[in-house]
Amino acid sequence: MAAPVCCQGLGSRVLSWSQELLCSWCTLHTSAVCAKNRAARVRVGKGDKLVTYEEAHVPHYIAHRKGWLSRHTGNLDGENHAAEPTVEDVFLGKFMLGTFPRCPADQLILNRRANQLEICALVLRQLPAHKFHFLVGYSETLLSHFYKCPGPHLDKSPSLIF
């Protein structure tokens, strides 16, 4: 992998020379650096930033001061489908953010039991109560048809915002 990098650095003459020499050509995709000591951390500012409990604690506190946001058995030894719940979680997060405008106060908590899905969301009281019920009925039906599981059950705990 080092060879092509050097080739990229040198001129085209060298590039063609290396093409004759090498049989395989592996490409390298580079992206911006994601340092591990900056992941999921809200940087300290002047002290006027509102953070939730989730945001305030950094990832190494998981299992010490934080819990998990998504619980499923896909990562246990011998279980299949480890990645699918993760993809579903991302979808569900975006879905709830869109369906309940301005309402989700924090990340969703997802529990999977057998084939049932329980979504626990902390929401702000931005909508009148009957609209909440409408959206809850709508999202439960839509998600159960989408994931073919009998009851994505929505648990909401509306909270006040200071």
């Binding site: 019920h133 009925g137 709508y138 439960e140 839509l142 073919k148 509306p158």
Partner: protein
Amino acid sequence: MAAVATGRWLRFRCKLCLTLTGQPAGPYGQAPSCRFYSGSATIPKVEGTNVTGIEEVVIPKKKTWDKVAVLQALASTVNRDATAAPYAFQDDPFLIPTSSVESRSFLLAKKSGENAAKFIINSHPKYFQKDIAEPHIPCLMPEYFEPQIEDISEAALRERIELKKVKASVDMFDQLLQAGTAISLETSNSLLDLLCYYGDKEPSTDYHFQQSEKSEELEEATEENNKKSEKTDHQFGVTWRTKNNAERIFALMPEKNSHSYCTMIRGMVKHRAPARALNLYTELLNNRLHADVYTFNALIEARALSVSEKLEDKWNNILELLKQMAAQKVKPNLQTFNTILKWLRRFHVFGKLPALQTFREMKAIGIEPSLATYHYIIQLFYHQENPSKGSSLIIYDIMNELTGQKFSPKDPDDDMFFQSAMKACSFLRDLELAYQVHGLLNTGDNWKFIGPDHRRNFYYSKFFSLVCLMEQIDVTLKWYKDLIPSVFFPRSQTLIDLLQALDVANRLEVIPQIWKDSKEYGHTFHNVLKEEILMLMARDKHSPELQVAFADCAADIKSTYESQDGRQTAPEWPANSLNYVAVLFLRAGRTQEAWEMLGLFKKHNKIPGNELLNEFMDSAKASNSPAQAIEIVKLASAFSLPICEGLTQRVMADFAINQEQKEALENLTSLTSDSDSDSDSDINEGK
């Protein structure tokens, strides 16, 4: 006996494990591999000896358990939680409904959300095709509402009939006829079925929300519950147009069998064209065809619907129909008798005897009556709420028969039974009977027959009012905690009944709690209720702590009045309430607020009562301030009250006032007495 049996079993097991381990020794020889403790070593091992007293072991039949049997058994151990909201709502204080209107609107909102989701799923089925469920769950797949077959053929017609597209199927039928293809009898019959069921109109999409009440006369409810209007038959009007598609297709059919005639008759009766139905029936008889039991039920209804006949004639016609039914060897079913009873209700007094005859006939044939049967009978016998005529005791017989029975739904009117039974109980003022009815409701699965929201509210309102009226106060309060608010939201009349019960039982200290609860159930701005509460609190003098509690409650009520004023342009604050609130403040020693109340009298142009002024005078004396006393007199004179005289005298007598105050007082009294005498003379002149 059991020991012997176990002994035998043990021996059997012994043999088994010995053979497994390959040891040929006898059963009780070496048994180290048998891990269980053989306690039957003393029993003789020879099988042949007949030991007396051994019975045959009867192996019971294997029970098949339902898949959810364990869950059902667990569920039966858990009772209803009286402090929780119904399960359908999200468990959060913000989202739990606080009145019956709110609970209905929330449930409707949830249902409409589900319908919106279904609509989206069915309009974009391609996104929901991925099937990861193992085994396949068919109800979670999108449904197809558009017909797939496009060409003109009988299969296409059948498909449109299955998809319940009325207009499309009629068009397809016409096209098929024009093309000259013969349509089979079954397909034509199913097309007729579709047309007759929907009355030649498309099935409405909001069918479930707008299912109007059938032609029952509903109870006149109180102000919060009068959603349903009284509908009789004639308001429906005739919705069966002559020469509509059904009749046209019927005429076009080359061959008709009895199914076609029957469908047409039933459709005509359903859509209120009874005369045509009877004509068609005679045609059916002329063609020597037979009608089935459902058609006869429809014909009975048709006979009862025809307006122009007298009651005896109608009854005779119905009897004749029944005789024809017997002649055609058609066995009646439950619906037959229920239809007869339903229409006998219209006959009022005349219908009582035929109703009982019908009921006995039903029992004689062996048809199990359903709850709807009993409902019709109760309605027939308890229709007029006129106690002077003497009420029948039939409901006691009915309840004795029904106690302990579990019902399954057999008739659409089954859910009206509990409502009419409780109505009869409250009419008869019989609490024991009401408990019996309530016990029947709680037997087994009968709670499912309580009906929709308004019927449930009606049932429980009547039940609780009866309990308030007739039962001891402790039991009443227990029922109150149990039923409200988890089962129903009380109407203001119910709360007033409860207050009166508290009054009778002299438990007025519960009143502040009741007021707090009523605020939660949406009665904050209900004036009658507030006046009742205030009146009960202010009527007598009570112990000091109680007075303090009452005064807090009164302050709360006062604030609700004020916020109400802020909203409305025309503030209405009844004079009585002002009186009561002021009195309660005074008695609890909150004199400052009481004086503010006096100011409010002036503002709202209401007149304070005499007792109130006397109490103010008492309190002024107690606090020994003549200035206050003079204030009172000034107020009285401002309103030109006749009591002003008495007050002035009292002030002069009881208080130490100085000269100028005395003069002011006399001025005031002279003013009032002048105006009094003037008004008196005016009145005299007027006379």
